[in-house]
Amino acid sequence: MRAVLTPASLEELFAIWQRHPDAMPMAGGTDLLVKLRSSDRSDMRPLLLLNSIPELTCITTDTGQLRIGAAVTLSHIIAHPAVQANAPILADAAAQIGGPAIRNMATIGGNVCTASPAGDTLPPLYLLEVEVELLSPSGARRLPISDFILGPGKTALQPGEILTRVTIPKDKTFTTSRFEKVGRRKSLAIAVASLAAMFSLTEDGTMTEARLAWGSVGPTVVRLNGLEQQLQGRQPSALDLRQIVEQVKTGVSPIDDIRATAAYRRSVSANLLVRLLESLHV
């Protein structure tokens, strides 16, 4: 039998964790419980439930930033007016994860800390240039998301530290944002490749800023800064798409796995961007 610990505050969490240092934090459990069931049955480390801690389960906007608690569910994010207004691309991506029941359980903190190359909230979080807030008994710290995620399943989280919030700056507005995911089916599917894109467009369609991030085509999210800069100041209709296709295909670094081949993922990555740019023609 495995103990299940349910702290009701951050203070209590760290007090309990000190007594059970081997406990595993669990938010939605949609990844962790699957993993535990398929792993060594003699592993009886306690579960440390995060969803009764108020700070971790709310979305706040009072500081001029949008702060999303780590144990906030994807359904809550999708339905939240402040997310829809300030980070619609995050709501879009969250809505394409799993199915409704999974989204009622799975959390943003879980998606971030699992650090799967196919984590669908990650490309939007990279584009929104969010910071993650981390807390341990020795204090709080903040890191840009791209410094937090180190590789597949690897993060900068230290032992005894938890992710408390994801902070989204509200200083910038983009006129267009899209998240597109290609999987084997529409729901309950892990991405073969995904593209998150945010543009600031003038009335004549000129891109004053472009941000692009691909998921599932590298160990972590792929952002092609050179290509982003190249798009700036240009109109989508005036671009050399063949050359952009080549740049994307060489810029991403996918692998072959059970869902798709690397070659297919390169093509899909490029095609997603071409289709998106063509849809922006004025």
């Binding site: 039998m1 799993g98 409704p100 029941a101």
Partner: protein, 160 residues
Amino acid sequence: MSEITFKLNEKSITVNTPPDRRVLDLLREDLGLTGTKEGCGTGECGACTILVDGESRLSCLMVAAQLEGSSVETVEGLEQTAEGQLIQQAFVEHGAVQCGFCTPGMEMTALTMLRHDDHPSREAIREGISGNLCRCTGYVKIVDAVEHAAQEIRCCREEK
């Protein structure tokens, strides 16, 4: 062992169970409610869908301790609700049940969907049941049934 108190189909109960017991096993093995099915056991099929505080959840991916203080609805409680009866009737009348294994999860998903929106488009219904796999029907008859149940529920509400 832990003592866990929650509401199950409108009745308050207290169970003495290992806190890490899967909710699916608690319901089926310990409480004898075998209406909830285990399909994949990994959160990919929706057969084990129950409602917790009115929202759909997968009982294969929950531990008993998470139920403390909550209100749980399973397919056994479906016929105790007016909407549930209409959903059951619609599934029967539209031939939405073939082997029946996905039906409990499908109906619980329909219940929460129609409580939130009693006039969903066919597309919204497809989206709503997108986490519940059915290998028999091809879904058309299930969407027909949910659409019809929605219509019946609207009629009931208007009469009141």
